[in-house]
Chain length 406, copies 2
């Protein structure tokens, strides 16, 4: 008997048949006597459909109205789920973000949660009713509807779990948990049983799409256990827990491959303080997310700065770099789109030396050339050529014995 | 320069192209300097689609959750309209029923408006922004979302017009206004320029679908002028106004035909006080709407009660009548489904005598037999056989010179 928050994503709610499946799962928990708060995303492709309509009436839809529009998706899900549960004899009530007291700032489409007032749901939980809450949404201090941006429903779920003092927050998705690497790319990939918030954060940033960074940050700050698992079976998934609860201390927890980035190398620029700061401020202002940055100074006191950006923002980045070089009146730049970034993440790196060397050796053994290196306390990333991406991922996965056979 | 409330129904909002059309119309008003509050229904078939999904997850969806579900339809409309207006350079903001302070009782799916607090929209109107409000919905005192039942968006619009002290409430629909009779049934039908609330109420009850009774009642109570007009052209529509503002005093304003009713005749029952009251209470409890009622007492002190009900409720009605007769231990009943009801409505009847006679004579002239008669201060209804329905409608329409040629 515990208070549990569960979150179900869009693929678990693709149609009314899947909604009924999820309702059956919730029923089992309810019968075990648990108090349940269930957070839902919009059904399947609802959001795409709404965005499409918005684009038909406006070339640049306002953010406040976009939130008004998109928040209906989750509202449809919660109403249907409450009906489906009621049909199974499970008493349930649905709540919008505003009704459950999720108060946010007023940054529409990417709002942050300020506070949650759980007085509205607590009495219903005590009466053993299932409370179904619309994820992804809240209201600002003037009751305007806001949304929390990408992965917002995960954040809603963790925030509610924290506010209610839940035992854990279960995030249901269409995969069995967090894997050592993408199983579509490395057949040998293994599901991870437990990992720390820090590891999950790095892996989320690297595109392990199962959890959004903000939800992990919030869980980390409040020591809320997240259980990532599949809504299509009953298998135990992956527990994301405080570092000291990670039993099995491995050096590298997972490896990842990104192929949607491009490298920009700016060469022959003066070695003056503040130059790099100026460049990266300009990129940040234009919402360009820079991933790896490497700078080196040659003997002639001329600088080279290399960095990677997503291909989506490459055109913006080119424009900014060109303007910056014009202002500098020196230097030039090159772009390489045919790159791949392979990263290894593990909290064990903190206390183990030689991890980077082991990774580089593994790549050398299979004849893969490293073009760029960047390391942090719990992550090592290397840039290799696009063609070498898969091979590099495989080699690093094996080198750290992450496969099933290990 | 006036404050005007406009309401657009689902057919005016069938798709994003029509939403853009309506936005253009609103823009014209805005450019003329009017303050505008625009009330919207759900787009085209949205509600049907949502109801269909509800029926897929539940055999009997709860009313609270139904309101949570259906209210998303209007929310989508208002967000898209605000975007479409913004795209045209017209500043606009959308509001849900709750946000605009439409407080209702808690009778889900058929709530009544208690109060409206217009403080939320007033400042935006003063800044010359168009306020787009979701029709059909409100919230109860616990912030649960409620809906106002059939025709609810008309009621929202009139209530807002009253609360804001608007000059008039324009109800946009897919016809040019209120007609003397259904143009699909009588080619000669003519658009009415002005009619009184009482006349509109009677005609609405008779199925002149352009306005819902509750909205007319509310307008009547507050002397709010309703302008029923088409969203597909700029023609002047029909003004619904206080009785003393109806210039042209005609005897009969319009005539109608209903063919979806059945007549139940209960015969050979004792002439005892309270018997009829008992029968009609039972019918009311079962939500059976009784239209015409005629009672007559024969020489033998035996009573006959005839009444009409819609065919939808005929089975319920049969059951109730049978149970009532069992309790009485006397009498029997007959049902005639092959009937039509022809009604004439006009405030002029109050001051003119001989209207009923003129109507009966018109029917006699074309050889139509009257099976049942019921009159009120401003309405005369007759039951004829189903086959005679169209002919009767035509004859009465001509008798009162309602056609275009007149």
């Amino acid at each position: 008997m515990a208070l549990i928050v569960q979150k179900y994503g869009g693929t678990s709610l693709m149609d009314t048949a899947r909604i009924k499946n999820v309702a059956n799962r919730i029923k089992l928990y309810h019968e075990q006597g648990h108090q349940l708060v269930v957070v839902l995303s919009a059904m399947g492709h609802t959001t795409d459909y709404l965005v499409e309509m918005a684009s038909e009436v406006s070339s640049e839809p306002g953010k406040r109205e976009m939130d008004m529009l998109l928040s209906t998706g989750e509202q449809v899900s919660i109403a249907l789920m409450a009906m489906a549960l009621d049909e199974l004899g499970v008493p349930a009530l649905s709540f919008t973000g505003g009704q459950v007291g999720i108060l946010t700032d007023d940054r529409h489409t990417e709002a942050r949660i300020h506070s949650i007032s759980v007085e509205r749901v607590r009495p219903h939980l005590d009466e053993h009713k299932v409370c179904i809450v619309a994820g992804f949404q809240g209201v600002d201090q003037h009751s305007n509807i806001t949304t929390l941006g990408r992965g917002g429903s995960d954040t809603s779920a963790v925030a509610l779990a924290v506010a209610l003092g839940a035992r854990e927050c279960e995030i249901y998705t269409d995969v069995d948990g967090v894997y050592t690497t993408d199983p579509n790319k490395v057949a040998d990939a293994r599901k991870i049983d437990r990992l720390s918030y820090e590891e999950m954060l790095e892996m989320a940033r690297l595109g392990a799409g199962v959890l959004h960074s903000r939800s992990v940050e919030m869980a980390s700050k409040n020591n809320m256990v997240i259980h990532v698992r599949s809504s299509f079976n009953n298998a135990q998934g992956t527990l994301v827990v405080p570092e000291d609860e990670v039993m099995e201390q491995v050096v590298v927890r997972g490896v990842s491959l990104k192929t949607d980035e491009a490298r920009i190398a700016v060469v022959d620029i003066p070695d003056r303080p503040g130059l790099a700061a100026d460049l990266f401020s300009r990129l940040a202002e234009a919402q360009v997310n820079v991933d790896m940055i490497v700078q080196s100074t040659g003997k002639d006191q001329k600088n080279t700065i290399s960095f990677t950006v997503t291909e989506k923002t490459l055109n913006d980045s080119r424009r900014i770099v060109e303007a910056w070089l014009r202002d500098l009146e020196s230097g030039s730049y090159e772009v390489d789109e045919e790159i791949a970034i392979v990263s290894a993440v593990g909290i064990g790196m903190k206390s183990h030396s030689g991890i980077a060397a082991r990774m580089f050796q593994a790549l050398a053994n299979v004849g893969i050339n490293i073009e760029m290196i960047s390391t942090s306390e719990i992550k090592i990333s290397v840039v290799v050529s696009m063609d070498d991406g898969r091979g590099a991922l495989q080699a690093v996965h094996e080198a750290f014995e992450l496969g099933k056979a290990s």
